[in-house]
Symmetry: D3
């Protein structure tokens, strides 16, 4: 019965990336919690919600973020 919530900046995940993130994270969580049993019984009861937050609403160190800052970080 795990419930996973992932907050990311709005606009950084394509639909394809969202689907991959939901699939892989749900499987990792169900696999670890279910072990030594197989994850198949737990997976249908594993929910994963992606919560997209506008970057200017997300402060780090007291400063609002931006997609430009994230891009600069990733390319640094």
């Amino acid at each position: 019965m795990p419930f996973i919530q992932i907050k990311v900046f709005d606009g950084v995940l394509t639909e394809e990336k969202k689907n991959e993130m939901i699939a892989r994270v749900s499987e990792v969580v169900a696999e670890i919690e279910a072990r030594p049993h197989p994850k198949e019984k737990l997976l249908p009861l594993t929910w994963c919600v992606i919560d997209e937050i506008p970057a200017p609403n997300w402060g780090i160190g007291g400063q609002p973020s931006s997609l430009e800052l994230l891009k600069a970080l990733l390319e640094s």
Copy 2:
């Protein structure tokens, strides 16, 4: 002082349904917490927030949801 948060798929609740959900859930929660006292004193301190999540951001069993899946389930 209860604080209630209800996550639902974006687009499934009309304004009328939202109002009814806020009213009835708040009353149930205040009534049960306040008992054996009447709920009237606690109700003004009962907050209820509806959080609408786009269905494709909500994974169940590792698969993204959709309003079509929900409709199919309800009509099954």
Copy 3:
């Protein structure tokens, strides 16, 4: 697929009250969201988590709360 979270003061709900709150709130939410369909298909996909917060960790108007304040309010 509704997900309900209810924050209350730690220590105000007996096990019996928790069970009643989970049952009644889940039914209200599933009934309203599913309408005009019956709630039976949606109810198994309705989750409700009670989150108990120590009253001194919960500030109202900048002042920490207490179970005594809640009791005084209900008995007023």
Copy 4:
């Protein structure tokens, strides 16, 4: 490593107010948690997310809110 989440009505905060809120709240939280050490080491690890909720989705006392109600309260 504090993580702060602030839910407000959608539409009540200008970008300037959001920036000020993120800056001042993050500094207060980092200062108090870090004390007697200075806040500078903790501040970069202090995150603050503003979550804007449409007023009709936010019930108080079982009634949906509105920006008009908030305005009337502030001007009363």
Copy 5:
């Protein structure tokens, strides 16, 4: 800057499982969000919090859960 929150039943994760879950989920999320860039720059800004909920506080379909129900499901 992803922030991940994972709610599980209290008592189902050993310290070892928690560490593995934090490590693997954080890596998956950072990898997908950062792509086509490597995840190394994003990983330090990826936070993951495990939130342990007592099973009787977690209702599914209006019924409180229990560790016994989870065990029965996994062994079925």
Copy 6:
């Protein structure tokens, strides 16, 4: 009607620090949201909840945290 939630490591805040954090953060948030009106009308409708998370449940960069790591950071 702001609702503030502050997640910190369990064990880092004394009762005195919690009270100060609740008081000062609530005042900052109410003051900024209410401006140009005075904060007094909004403050009673400002709630602030401190959520204490065991440090080993809080991963940063895929690694579980600890109070020792926080202490080392603050003293560095």
